[in-house]
Symmetry: none
Subunit: 224 residues, 2 copies
DNA sequence: TATTTGGCTTAACAATTTGATAATATGCCC
DNA sequence: GGGCATATTATCAAATTGTTAAGCCAAATA
């Protein structure tokens, strides 16, 4: 793997937290921990981990609630989520998968099983999307969050990057303003009308190339 | 765009009903309303809406009950369902999603959030319709919002584009002036009689080709 | 802990485009 | 020619987007 994967673990039992952390770090992952649901959400937003391991039973918010809340946000639509449960209750397991988790683990945890599941998940889902998009002289690396234009690296802020990546993902397609808002900001957040424009402007400025064209009354599109 | 989406709203509070109805109609949706659970079921069966918005708390049957009953029928397996709830109770939210709803909304309702959620849902689940219409040397790309005629790209303003796309969508068919008004301007807005003519003229001008013919006293039609 | 930095959003204003209308002209059919 | 219905044109208001600077907040730094 090119980049180090970040894994967020949320569990209220310090022992469990430590065991998992130890084993995953030993495998070379970067590990972030949270002691309850709210802390998990907060840290997820801050660190944007590649994988989140959630205990079902936690004070404050349960793992499922955390999962549901995160899944509603565009940034976590594709984040891997694993549930941890002490119950061998199969009903719970099914509900967990239905509510948007990618896998589940039952306690007590075997480090071996844990590590192999985590690796399996990353393997399974890393093939899917090409992480690097090339359009003409422009190269967008979704994993490194970097843009390269004619050999020069360009640094874009996160929102700028996501916006460009979205538009460049389907060159020529006009993205409606609403579409852009829903994809990048989600339906929960409401931002003013000029916000998109400003980000568009910054991209145009930094790229020093007019590859984004305005379709007045409709939206924006990317084209070389 | 192509087909008008039907939305059924069920709520026992007339005010809410009206607000939602107004905002969705303004977006061009066809709206059906119901004042309670039983009426919702009945109207759902009759109208087969594309989306159903259900208040959780209703006399007779709750929104969840309605949802469960409908989901049992094959006709509603793929119908989008949104719950409305006054409770910011997150437990309810989770239960709502588990019981077969596609999303939920909390009261008080922000029209912006409502509309963007509805649009997002339709977009997410809509199968790709053919976005490109070809008629002779003319190519209309709804996705790129572009017109290509004999290899030349032509830029049309929004109303012009929509008008041409409408007419060219059914070559030969005569669109009555009223029909055009309802489709492109909607029933809310009222514009003068000459407005259509002016737009038609602009299209003819920009296309430099008389592919739109006037049917005096009736309307316009597209033909090569 | 205090300070600085950078990203994100917004307000405010400028620049631009669009769309509707009025006024006038044209063409058609009786 | 008179009576329509549509075409054309110029004009203006409204809608939309561009631009800039400023403020806020969280993260990084000292």
């Amino acid at each position: 793997m090119s980049t180090v994967k970040k894994i967020l673990i949320a569990d209220d039992e310090p022992d469990i937290l430590e065991i998992i952390q130890y084993n995953l770090q030993a495998e070379g992952f970067e590990v972030i921990t949270a002691k309850n649901g709210n802390e998990a959400i907060e840290k997820a937003k801050r660190h944007l981990p590649n994988l989140i391991i959630l205990d079902i039973m936690m004070p404050g918010k349960t793992g499922m609630e955390v999962c549901n809340l995160l899944r509603q946000q565009p940034a976590f639509k594709n984040t891997l989520i694993i549930f941890l449960t002490a119950l061998s209750d199969e009903g719970t397991e099914v509900k967990g998968l239905e509510s948007g988790a990618d896998d589940y683990l039952t306690k007590p945890i075997s480090p071996k099983v844990l590590v192999s599941k985590v690796n399996a998940l990353f393997r399974r889902f890393s093939k899917d999307e090409p992480k690097i998009v090339k359009v003409g002289d422009l190269e967008i690396d979704r994993e490194k969050y970097m843009i390269n234009f004619k050999g020069n690296d360009i640094v874009l802020a996160r929102k700028e990057f996501e916006l460009l990546a979205l538009l460049a993902g389907k060159p020529g397609k006009v993205f409606l303003r609403n579409e852009i808002l829903n994809t990048i900001w989600g339906t929960e957040v409401i931002v003013g009308d000029r916000t998109i424009d400003v980000h568009i402007r910054k991209i145009r400025q930094k790229l020093d190339l007019d590859c984004i064209s305005t379709v007045k009354g409709v939206g924006y599109k990317f084209e070389m």
